[in-house]
Amino acid sequence: MKKNKRQKLSSQELHKRMDKVPDVWVKCPFCGKTIYKKQLGKYLECPDCHYAFRIGAKQRIELLCDNFEPFNLELKANPKYQDPKYLAKLEKARETTGLNEGVLTGIGTINGHRTAIGVMDWRFIMGSLGTATGELLARLFERATQEKLPVIVFTASGGARMQEGIESLMQMAKVSEAVSEHSKAGLVYISYLCDPTTGGVTASFAMQGDLLLSEPHALIGFAGRRVIERTIQQIPPKDFQRAETLLHNGFLDAIVKRNEMKTTLSHILAIHEGGDKNE
């Protein structure tokens, strides 16, 4: 209200200016509202629709954990992959995320609950599942099985990593194997599906949790919208792959606002405390 001049701008003009000052204004990708960035708060949520803005792996850990010890940080894509375009993408992703691979794994404490945690970073080649990504996740579950710890994985991924071909597809099986070993030990796995979770990640560990949680309006699906449009000439409804649709269809346990993420998770962890020792 203070700046009447701004209200007279066409929305097109306003967005053009906003693009020049991206640190001040953002547009909610879900409801389209233009928001003064500070209004998003530390959890980066739309004040109107509660859409949880995409965040990197390290940022997620900061919001969630009292302390966090990462492991296998040195693990990276096999040097046998030599395609210069792929190598350039990896380099850029490493710079952007500060990670060697698309998932940050380690052991953290959430309100006192020691937990094995994996966070996929969507900025790392769209959070795609490469061989090293799969290896990090498999080792996370294996470590948790050894130490009898619960696992939480935050998924954010476009699916398999095309550049690594069929070996990327095999990661779905590899991680699934580690998930089952953890499950057979009577330990709890909470899968937390974040925007966006699609393709081979949805078709494997993202959907294998004992509990499936998500964030408001997160995009979750198997086949991409464009694939569906192209393959069968069908125009999918606007929100056909939103978390709310999956909840309605029975494929999620709950949608949790990001400012309630920590309390919700520590609540669930408390209920599962003791793991296989519960009789």
Binding site: A138, M162, I166, A173, Q208, F222, Q234
Partner: protein
């Protein structure tokens, strides 16, 4: 062999002349009975499955099939299974475990069916369960890529003790057309994509993705030989202690 391009192999894998899943099943079993339905939602004809005997030994067979003509192709979505198809597959595979029957999967699919209804009924969830629960089945589990082995929709039925592939088959992360579209924004470069994707059986066996290449089946004698190979492998796996068989299976996937 060397003059054979990878894209030719793609075309051969998709060929209408390839032996059908139904003919294969009839050739390797004596008294096959098709079993229907997922007990939750429907019966997807793309998944052709049931029970029968192989040299008097009961087996469960689950196939993903393409159509024989335009009409059946439309019914089975050109060999693309829906979630209820995968749910039927999982139901019958769990049943096989109950009755200690070995499982054979016969795969010819370009991929899981991409449509809105499939998304609503949990396409991703069902594939995730077939991978996780399938890998745990305490009975011998042999997967055979007969034609196309497309992406997660094929992997869903290919997490057994061994994965075999027909000589004229492909197994890949997605179709060469899709690969060219995604990586190069140009679907017309499918031919080139097929070359770099390493999707032929010869490439796959080098990487340990498949364990054996099956000569293409064009007549009854070849079908009999395939049956004998399958039966031999079943006998070999059945003779192993279950824990050892499973550990070997887990290691197969853990090493990727």
């Amino acid at each position: 062999m060397s003059k054979d391009t990878a894209f030719n192999r793609v075309l051969q894998a998709r060929s209408k002349d390839k032996i059908s899943i139904k003919a294969l099943i009839d050739g390797i079993t004596d008294d096959f009975i098709e079993l229907h339905g997922d007990r939750a939602y429907g019966d997807d004809p793309a998944v052709y499955a049931g029970i029968g005997s192989m040299n008097d030994k009961p087996v469960t067979i689950v196939g993903i099939r393409k159509g024989d003509d335009d009409q059946t192709d439309a019914e089975v979505h050109f060999g693309s299974a829906e979630p209820d198809g995968y749910r039927k597959a999982l139901r019958l595979m769990k049943q096989a475990e109950k009755f200690k029957r070995p499982i054979i999967t016969l795969i010819n699919t370009p991929g899981a069916y991409p449509d809105v209804e499939a998304e609503y009924h949990g396409q991703g969830y069902m594939i995730s369960q077939l991978i996780m629960q399938g890998m745990q089945l305490k009975v011998p589990y042999i997967a055979v890529i007969v034609g196309e082995g497309g992406s997660g929709g094929a992997l869903a039925l290919a997490v057994g003790d061994c994965v075999w592939a027909f000589e004229e088959s492909i197994y890949s992360i997605l179709s060469p057309e899709g690969y060219a579209t995604i990586l190069w924004k140009d679907s017309s470069r499918a031919r080139e994509a097929a070359e770099v994707m390493k999707l032929t059986p010869e490439d796959l066996i080098k990487q340990g993705i498949i364990d054996r290449i099956i000569p293409e089946i064009r007549n009854n004698d070849e079908l009999k030989r395939f049956k004998a190979d399958l039966f031999g492998k079943i006998e070999e796996l059945s003779a192993m202690p279950t824990a050892e068989m499973l550990n070997q299976r887990f290691a197969r996937y853990r090493n990727f």
